[in-house]
């Protein structure tokens, strides 16, 4: 007993000292170009350490129970399971080309797009067993779900189409042409929004049949769409123009366009209202304050892509 106390006491004393540095939480950045993860201290906006992975990590997703942070290493054909609080790698699982990944809202499915293999894999999230593989041409890029988890929607960059996968029957319901080089896709207010990277807009798509109802201009190279945590603002990154645009999520009217150079890609939202944005081609993570438009950039590894803020949830 005394031994145990002797062990616990110093730890208890240390804990408050370790506290302040973690006050703002950590940002975990996936450096796709040099096979590392950058772990940043959000409060001080500095890099704490760099964790080596195998080859080419692109996207990140938190497991439904919040216990694991999944990082897809597409180049290594490997899924990494990280501790979401520290960024430490706990487990590695061989998996074919995990480029983009997302869990269904009900937590039942994990859908993984294989950009370089023209396939979309649907896994049973509880067992990580492959439920079904869908060959989809070509370059399946990003995935999102219907709120009731009945459908998954995948953009096909190479063929300008959006594919709808019926998860109950595990079949492709339809594919429809949505615009040039579709990349990011999200569900908003009963519609699908698809960012067309080969154009300057995102398409508003009917989830029933894939018909494009509207096209909303944002800027050249519209790449990915993100909804703010309060669900009031829609953010769109434009790769070619180097801008991040804020739109009213209810009306889809543009509120403001911010200059974010270096090919802005993924976004995560900090509790203080700032946006953390990866800047692919200048090896930085930009911290954008929407209130002032100020952009503070933190140097990270080569071609940073996915980003996850531990303090955000």
């Amino acid at each position: 007993m005394r031994l145990l106390l002797a062990f616990i006491l110093p730890l208890a004393l240390l804990a408050p000292m370790a506290g302040p540095a973690r006050a703002g939480g950590l940002a975990i950045v996936l450096n796709s170009g040099d096979a590392t993860l950058s772990v940043l201290d959000m409060a001080h906006e500095t890099e704490l350490r760099r964790v080596p992975v195998l080859r080419e990590p692109h996207h990140v997703a938190l497991s439904p129970d919040g216990a694991d942070l999944l990082v897809g290493d597409a180049g290594a054909n490997e899924m990494l399971f990280l501790d979401p609080r520290t960024g430490d790698i706990r487990r590695r699982v061989p998996m074919a080309d995990p480029y983009h990944l997302a869990f269904s809202p009900n937590g039942k499915w994990l859908t993984v797009t294989g950009l370089a293999r023209n396939q979309v894999d649907v896994y049973d999230a509880a067992t990580m067993a492959l439920a079904k593989r869908f060959p989809l041409s070509t370059m399946p890029s990003h995935v999102t779900y219907a709120p009731d988890s009945s459908m998954a929607y995948v953009t096909l960059q190479g063929t300008n189409r959006l594919a709808a996968i019926d998860l109950r029957h595990q079949v492709v319901s339809w594919t429809a042409e949505v615009g040039a080089t579709p990349a990011g896709v999200i569900w908003l207010n009963g519609k699908l929004l698809v960012a067309n990277m080969g154009s300057d807009h995102f398409a508003v798509v009917d989830p029933v049949d894939g018909r494009v109802e509207q096209r909303i201009h944002t800027g050249r190279g519209a790449h990915q769409l993100f909804l703010s945590p309060d669900r009031k603002t829609l953010w769109v990154n434009n790769r070619v123009d180097g801008t991040t645009v804020a739109l009213d999520a209810a009306t889809l009217a543009t509120i403001h366009s911010y200059r974010v150079p270096g090919g802005p890609d993924c976004i995560d939202f900090a509790p203080d209202g700032k946006l953390w944005i990866t800047q692919r081609f200048i090896q930085k993570v930009g911290v954008l304050d929407p209130a002032t438009g100020a952009l503070q950039s933190i140097p990270v590894g080569r071609s940073p892509h996915g980003i996850f803020l531990t303090g955000a949830r």
């Binding site: 040099d34 080596p52 074919a96 294989g114 370089a116 293999r117 080969g198 150079p261 081609f281 090896q283």
Partner: protein, 321 residues
């Protein structure tokens, strides 16, 4: 402290490649474009470093002196095309759909290409060691590709373009037939499916290895000493492979970076030193023709050697007589 190559590649991508891809409707290649820009930036650095070291060496202790160096210029073109990435890009585009199909088919059959680190879990976390092992394995596979390219008549016909050069300099390393490059790419793809693609954490080491390959072709009297000659391929060692007597279907010193495989498989020749280079059985166009003439001559020779057209010609001088 940001890597200057990545910064240059990023700048190139953001200001030139991305707007160009957007204009022609090829935005799905944006990630590939950045990879290519990096490759090109390292390529420029490789050429610059090689030039800065090898040119003085060749001036200082040349093996051969030529009245003019007209035949060298085409090798400069070969070097720029392949190191600055025009040829690798073409090869990649040609192979892309094939690779995607093959990868998809393999993963349908349960094949997830491993990495060396997953085959040997003890390597996890030891990146420098892993890189070194990849370099050794890839060099071993290159030894056999090179050896087989001398062995088969049709393949030798293509590779003889590399050997036809009588004014061999550090520019000659990338002097290869396009079809031979394609075969090399397929060969690498096959190896990658078995052991994965090496990590890119050490671009400077890749630069060093590519430098050694260029140096081994330099027109310079340079030996690494008795032990050094057996550890790394030197200009003296590789020149023997390019000697007029070694040009053909039986040769020696096939190693690209490590002479170990030649020692191991009995193809090493450490005795012949600073010989004249070239392939006496090659038609003149292969040696001194323009880029296009050389490519055509290579194809013609391949057709003859494979017996598709005309009489099958001898594969050049046999060794050991």
């Amino acid at each position: 402290m940001t890597d200057p190559f990545s910064l240059a590649a990023g700048w190139l991508t953001e200001t030139v490649l991305l707007p160009a891809l957007y204009a022609v409707g090829g935005m799905e290649w944006e990630e590939v474009a950045f990879g290519w820009a990096l490759f090109a930036c390292y390529g420029v650095a490789q050429v610059a470093v090689t030039f800065a070291v090898c040119l003085p060496l060749e001036r200082w202790r040349p093996v051969e002196r030529w009245p003019d160096q007209k035949a060298v210029w085409v090798d400069v073109l070969y070097t720029l095309l392949s190191r600055v990435g025009v040829l690798p890009l073409v090869t990649f585009v040609l192979f892309y759909q094939l690779q995607v199909g093959l990868n998809g088919w393999l993963s349908d059959h349960g094949w997830v290409p491993p990495t060396l680190e997953r085959l040997v879990p003890a390597l996890l976390g030891h990146h420098l060691l892993t890189f070194f092992l990849y370099a050794v394995i890839l060099d071993f596979s290159e030894y056999w590709r090179h050896r087989l390219s001398h062995r088969f008549g049709w393949w030798w016909a293509l590779h003889s373009l590399h050997h036809a050069q009588r004014q061999m300099t550090f520019w000659s390393d990338d002097r290869n037939h396009l079809l031979d490059d394609l075969i090399g790419f397929a060969w690498f793809t096959a190896v990658a499916l078995l052991i994965g693609i090496p990590p890119m954490q050490f671009p400077l080491l890749v630069l060093l290895l590519r430098f050694l390959e260029s140096l081994s072709h330099a027109n310079a009297r340079l030996s690494f000493g008795w032990l050094g000659e057996r550890l790394l391929v030197s200009p003296r060692f590789h020149r023997s492979h390019h000697g007029v007597l070694a040009a053909g279907q039986q040769s020696a010193n096939y190693g690209a970076i490590l002479p170990w495989w030649d020692v191991l498989f009995g193809t090493a020749d450490f005795d012949r030193a600073y010989v004249r280079t070239g392939d006496p059985s090659a038609e003149e166009a292969l040696a001194t023709g323009s880029y296009v003439q050389q490519q055509w001559a290579g194809l013609r020779r391949m057709a003859r050697m494979a017996g598709w057209t005309g009489p099958r010609q001898a594969g050049g001088f046999k060794r050991g007589h």
